[in-house]
């Protein structure tokens, strides 16, 4: 199973094993990674699963859909490597990916 490492706002790292097909958000929630709230459960309706993806992994992700782009356009503290983790589907290719959750309120 691919491993995903989450770095929280205080620099603390957590590495979890994630099943392919799940989203990066789901893997975080199921493994109790703080900072990813995902209040809408992955419906791309809330932007509370905002993460910064390590630049190295960005090209390996599926492209953003219009809805995600639009949500991110208005989210806070957005950077060029911002994604909504509910829209990142985990694949074998993503083994080792690092994301830094923004501290959601």
């Amino acid at each position: 199973m691919p491993k995903i490492t989450y770095v929280d706002a205080n620099g603390e790292q957590r590495t979890v094993e994630a099943k392919t097909g799940m989203s990066v958000m789901e893997a975080a929630i199921k493994n109790d990674v703080p900072g990813i709230d995902a209040d809408c459960g992955g419906a791309c309706a809330c932007a509370t699963c905002h993460v910064y993806v390590d630049e190295e992994w960005l090209p390996k992700l599926d492209e953003q859909q219009a809805m995600e782009q639009s949500m991110l356009d208005f989210a806070e503290n957005v950077q060029s490597n911002s994604r909504l983790s509910c829209q990142i589907k985990i694949t074998e290719e993503l083994d080792g990916m690092v994301t830094t959750p923004e501290s959601q309120h």
């Binding site: 199921k30 109790d32 809805m67």
Partner: protein, 415 residues
């Protein structure tokens, strides 16, 4: 006893109950925690039930909010398939349906709500189903296929989401709504009209101002529904989605103050010492509207869990968000921020025919709510406007040549 070593019993293993547990542990709570749920399932998400789970796009395992290991790892005692029967606020105990009595230092009532039953003849026929729990949808799934005649009673979020999903699966769907518009309890008439047309274009037959008088059947099995005018609508199954009733009887019996829900203050405290109520069952202060209300939403469940956990721990309360909701039907995402009740003006932004637009609701010039269809900027900025009680000229809100960023900058800048 300090908050962190208190024994906490949470009644209700839904989104709100689970969030209480998660937040308690995140805040450093070290005492015993018992999470009691009357369904046999570990805490799961309800929103996908009438959408992805019904359509088979989301497997069961992905509905569960936490992995199986979570509860043992965090020393949370899960008692599933058990309901709470009586609270003794003086002795600080709660009796469960399996005969056990638990003592507690803090009690959280997160018992949620149950589907409202139709008080009509035939409501107990085989084939009359509800849309509330995983078990409800599991009963529906074998019928969810091409050619099946489905009657949905009630055109709220749940009924229309199920109508959309079943139509996409090839079923023939009719919807019965007693009011003159769909989504009437949760959205304004422009949104209602848009969703009415969308469903009709997809092949759903929607009957407005239509009252059900009884379900009819043969040999205990549903065959149709009789309308108040006497016409019979044939159907193989009927889905009843006519709202919910708060599960507050256990609080009432314990002498805890209730209205249309268990009454709580800003810290989710009930009238009984060390007893909290959150989620669908709580009648809570609506901070942005200076009144009380009961909210049925994921946002409210999560926020309530965070509030109760903070209050138990003596930690600072979480920020209070504007109530928000969403609904997915066909390729449409409806995002709502705020409560539109009491609006004296509505402003349309964008063209409904384009499938991307919003309706802003104003009261005395201030934005109190927004319904956005496939239009996140309107939702996100609208939510901020509602939170700030911002005043925006209706002419500007309705002018799509002025971006939401500009509207936001102007309305929310400190002046």
């Amino acid at each position: 006893m300090t908050g962190k070593s208190q024994k906490v019993v949470v009644l209700g293993a839904g989104q709100a109950g689970l969030q209480t547990v998660v937040s308690l542990r995140q805040l450093g709570h070290e005492g015993e925690i018992v999470l009691v749920g009357d369904e046999p399932e570990a805490p799961y998400q309800r929103p996908p039930l009438s959408k992805g789970y019904l359509k088979g796009e989301l497997e069961r395992e992905r509905l569960y909010l936490k992995g199986e290991d979570y509860y043992a790892e965090h020393e949370v005692s899960l008692r599933l398939g058990v309901s709470a029967e009586a609270i003794d606020t003086a002795a600080r105990t709660v009796r469960l349906s399996d005969g056990a009595t638990l003592d507690w230092d803090a009690l959280v009532i997160a018992t949620g709500a149950r589907a409202r039953r139709l008080d009509v003849h035939g409501a107990d026929l085989d084939g009359v189903l509800e849309l509330r729990t995983m078990a409800d949808i599991d009963r529906l799934k074998p019928h969810a296929r091409a050619g099946v005649n489905v009657l949905v009673v009630g055109a709220g979020y749940i009924g229309l989401e199920a109508a959309a999903a079943l139509t996409q699966m090839g079923a023939k769907v009719k919807v019965l709504e007693a009011a003159p518009q769909v989504l009437g309890r949760v959205a304004g008439p422009e949104i209602g009209q848009f969703f009415l047309e969308t469903h009709r274009a997809a092949g759903v037959e929607i009957m407005l101002n239509a009252r059900l008088s009884e379900f009819v059947g043969e040999g205990g099995k549903l065959t149709g529904a009789r309308l108040a005018e006497g016409d019979i609508v044939d159907c193989d199954i009927a889905l009843v989605g006519v709202g919910v009733v708060p599960n507050m009887e256990i609080a009432e019996r314990a002498g805890i103050r209730c209205g249309n829900g268990v009454c709580v203050d800003e810290q989710a405290k009930t009238s009984a010492e060390s007893v909290y109520a959150i989620g669908d069952v709580a009648l809570r202060p609506l901070t942005h509207y200076r009144r009380e209300g009961r909210l049925e939403s994921v946002h409210n469940a999560i926020e309530g869990g965070k509030i109760a956990a903070a209050a138990i721990m003596g930690a600072p309360p979480p920020p209070i968000d504007v109530p928000w909701f969403w609904s997915d039907q066909y390729a449409l995402k409806l995002q709502t921020a705020g409560l539109w009740t009491g609006a004296d003006e509505s402003v349309l932004r964008g063209e409904p025919q384009s499938g991307r637009f919003a309706v802003f609701y104003l009261k005395e010039g201030a934005v109190i709510a927004v319904d956005a269809v496939n239009s996140p900027p309107d939702f996100i900025v609208g939510k901020k406007l509602v939170a700030a009680g911002a005043r925006v000229a209706p002419g500007e809100l309705g002018d799509t040549s002025i971006s939401m960023k500009e509207i936001s900058a102007k309305a929310l800048s400190p002046s």
